[in-house]
């Protein structure tokens, strides 16, 4: 018998593999941690397996491109992080009414914790709001299997299906058993039909259709292998997604027993299966991360069927809504639920006994990051103005970390320019400078800029153009001459676009040239009406440094201006100030040094 082929895959790679096994034809998305590697992997293999892949400018665009393909019968996949779904909410809510012909799967990665996100919103709740089925994988293997199943389900129902992995599936590696590659793909032809044109009359009818579908999906889900029950006594635990792993391990570690229902399809709830489970237990605990999506539905179901089952979970404060769960937290939850005294203590004897103070280690901008130079230049140039610096989503959000302290606000993608516009309406006479990256500018920033020009907001926008989408892993965007699959692309010139938006004051500066940056900063804020400074330098992670700098200790006056203001990881304060081998040769510290004590040397000469 042939042994099934196994590969060590990250959850996101496993999802990509699932899409390939399902015969995906069109793949779109916008990067966002923890989702980015799904499309990154699919783009890498697009030519080999023969499907189309693109990084779209934002999630709304991505979903609509994928939906168009699915209208014609293609299998399409669209990827984003949880907050990206907010951007794509407009097409999603109506797409649920319109439906699809080819399978359309949205991979929306949640980030309980959060580790790399601005909020902890729960995509399962969003699926419930949109009345769309959602699958919640617990491991990379299940994520791959669910991806294949999601395409089948989408075509069977004529509805988009959401796959919602979390960070602990996306970025977990597992030995994944691969499935076969497809022999055929869907035939594609768009059939004209009034059903594709949403109008109020159709919307009403389709709303009825969508509501009726919920029952059908619930029945289907009760038979799916991703949901399964194991009966061991009158005490029950219902759990969804990665929490299932923690419950299994906590029970095993403590030697406790309970009837266990694993839910892989949190919305709509597989009601038949849950009812059967509830009829076998006297009390039940629901363990899930984020919102009580499963718990609310279980309570609702038990009430409708007048089942005398005791309920525990988030509503009685046992399971937290915030942060992610783990085995330790679930053990403590189970302990309270079971009411056991004398819980077996994990042998955590090493914890925090007389632990010395440890150094604060927050993420910071890389050594030689061009954003650092721009933030420093603007702060220095405008220190007599008490300006407000509004920030955005990307590496440059780290400009808020001391000692730079360069950002006063950060909300969501593209909000730097619009928040600055709003502030400028009510507190006039102050200077407002918005900072965003090139990819974020294309994503939603450009709409805010057009609004600022049209309505004459007196603000300055700084576009930090490093030629990539850096924070999420260096994905291409419309500002560079390469697309997702590495082919040549038509580059959209940012300065030309800004000009086309009607901005009168535009300066393009070298991010590493402090004098240029500072002069542009002063001119731009003095300009009446919207002004734009484009600060250019390629992301330091993508260039090979040719030189580095060193401190001439004889000339150093130990004023510490460099280490205390720039926060560059290459600048270290030992007995003297020294520059480590992390130096990439940007030379910004040499421009800051009042004593001229920092000098350029070749990489080999230290």
């Amino acid at each position: 018998m042939a042994v099934a082929e196994k590969m060590l895959l990250m959850g996101n790679e496993a999802i990509a593999r699932g899409a390939v096994e399902a015969g995906v034809q069109v793949v779109t998305g916008y990067p966002g941690t923890p989702s980015s590697e799904v499309l990154g992997t699919l783009a890498h293999f697009a030519k080999e397996y023969g499907y189309y892949a693109e990084w779209s400018v934002n999630e709304k665009v991505a979903l609509e491109v994928a939906a168009g393909a699915a209208y014609a019968g293609a299998r399409a996949l669209v990827t984003m992080k949880q907050v990206g779904l907010n951007v794509a909410a407009d097409p999603l809510m109506t797409l649920a009414y319109i439906g699809v012909k080819g399978g359309l799967v949205l991979v929306v990665a949640d980030d309980p914790g959060p580790h790399s996100s601005q909020n902890e919103q729960d995509t399962r709740k969003f699926a419930q709001f949109a009345k769309l089925p959602v699958l919640d994988p617990s491991t990379p293997q299940e994520a791959k299997d669910m991806t294949v199943a999601a395409f089948e389900l989408s075509e069977q129902l004529g509805l988009p299906v959401i796959l919602r992995p979390t960070t602990r599936t996306c970025h977990v590696c597992q030995d994944v058993i691969l499935g076969p590659l497809p022999l055929t793909r869907n035939e594609c032809r768009f059939d004209k039909n009034p059903g594709w044109v949403i109008l109020p009359g159709l919307a009403y009818k389709k709303h009825i259709w969508l509501n009726q579908k919920q029952k059908e999906i619930s029945r289907l889900f009760s038979r799916m292998p991703f949901n399964r029950a194991e009966i061991k006594g009158k005490t029950g635990i219902i759990t969804s997604g990665v929490s299932y792993n923690y419950v299994v391990e906590a029970l095993e570690m403590q030697g406790w027993e309970a009837s266990l229902l694993k839910i892989g399809t949190p919305y709509p709830l597989p009601e038949d299966l849950v009812l059967e489970f509830l009829s076998r237990v006297e009390r039940v605990l629901v363990v899930e991360e984020q919102e009580p999506v499963v718990e609310d539905q279980v309570i609702h179901l038990a009430w409708r069927h007048s089942l005398p089952v005791g309920m525990a979970g988030k509503h009685n404060g046992l399971v937290p809504r915030e942060g992610e769960l783990d085995v330790d937290k679930v053990t403590a939850i189970l302990h309270k639920f079971f009411g056991f005294v004398g819980m077996k203590q994990a042998a955590a004897s090493n914890t925090a006994r007389h632990a010395p103070d440890l150094p604060l280690r927050t993420p910071v901008l890389c050594a030689g990051c061009p954003h650092r130079a721009v933030f420093y230049g603007f702060k220095e140039a405008l220190k007599d103005y008490d300006p407000v610096f509004t920030g955005d989503i990307g590496c440059y959000t780290l400009g808020v970390i001391p000692p730079l302290n360069a950002l006063d606000t950060c909300l969501c993608m593209g909000a730097s320019v619009t928040i600055a516009s709003g502030l400028s309406r009510v507190e006039q006479g102050r200077k407002y400078v918005a900072f965003l990256g090139d990819s974020t500018f294309f994503h939603t920033g450009v709409a805010g800029l057009i609004n600022a020009v049209y309505n004459r907001a007196d603000i300055t926008l700084v576009i930090l153009d490093n030629g990539t989408t850096a924070m999420t892993g260096h994905q291409p965007h419309p500002g560079i001459e390469r697309n997702a699959t590495g082919d040549p692309a038509r580059r959209i010139d940012i300065a030309g676009l800004v000009k086309g938006c009607g901005v009168d004051y535009i300066r393009e500066v070298d991010a590493y040239n402090l004098q240029e940056v500072m002069q542009a900063a002063r001119e731009a804020v003095e300009h009446k009406g919207p002004s734009v400074v484009i600060a250019r330098r390629e992301c330091i992670a993508l260039v090979k440094p040719r030189t580095r700098y060193r401190v001439n200790t004889g000339a150093c006056i130990e004023c510490l201006l460099c280490v205390e203001n720039l926060g560059c990881p290459a600048l270290c304060r030992e007995e003297k100030v020294v520059i480590s081998e992390k130096c990439t040769g940007c030379g910004v510290c040499a421009q800051v040094c009042p004593a001229g004590a920092i000098e350029e040397v070749s990489r080999h000469e230290v």
Binding site: K6, C173, N350, A352, L398, G567
Partner: protein, 196 residues
């Protein structure tokens, strides 16, 4: 069989690559594997913790507190920060070449190297300190400190793979032009354990 390994370090030190290599070696030896880390923002000079789990019938990828068999600290303070993961009697190998965060240079926090070292020695009798970054430089590239640490790891008893299996996984994972330097780093890591 169950083997839980925690690797801690600073973004940019190659902890993620090291966890993949260990997982690959374990998989090649026929075990199930799980690894987990948060990648993204934390990789910019922040703290990185990798969990590697090896065995049969594995569930989740996160190692509970007090359950790790081995702690591989790529950086001194980060080893101390992750100490709660190690089980009583667990083994620890710590790179004592420190990475001073910018918060210390900017005067916002302090790095008490001696205090942290003494704390680790007291809490972990038999902890092995080695200068992995220095050894890596001697091997020819300071970036191979992660493989020096893996070489050191390979000397411990009770691993779910052989030293040869781990070296093979290293060589299969790194780009071909860096194979020899990584082989050297691995061997030097093994030798460094003889003296700690």
């Amino acid at each position: 069989m169950k083997f839980d390994l925690v690797i801690t370090g600073v973004g940019g030190q190659g902890t993620v690559l090291a966890s993949r290599i260990v997982a690959r070696a374990a998989m090649d030896a026929g075990w199930q594997v799980r690894t987990s880390e948060t990648i993204g923002m934390a990789q910019r000079e922040g703290c990185v913790v990798s969990h590697v789990r090896v065995g049969e019938n594995l569930a989740g990828a996160l190692i509970p507190d007090g359950r790790a068999d081995v702690l591989l600290g790529f950086e001194l303070a980060e080893a101390a920060r992750a100490l709660a993961k190690l089980k009583a009697g667990g083994k620890a190998i710590v790179n004592e070449d420190v990475i001073v965060p910018t918060s210390v240079s900017a005067g916002l926090s302090r790095y008490r190297v001696q205090d942290i070292r003494e704390y680790l020695e007291k809490e972990l009798p038999g902890v092995c300190f080695l200068r992995a970054s220095e050894v890596a430089r001697e091997a020819g590239n300071s970036k191979t400190a992660n493989v020096v640490m893996l070489g050191a790891l390979s000397t411990l008893p009770g691993l779910p793979f052989s030293p040869e299996g781990l070296l093979e996984a290293v060589l299969k994972t790194v780009p071909s032009q860096f194979r020899e330097i990584n082989r050297k780093a691995f061997e030097m890591g093994r030798r460094a354990m003889g003296v700690c």
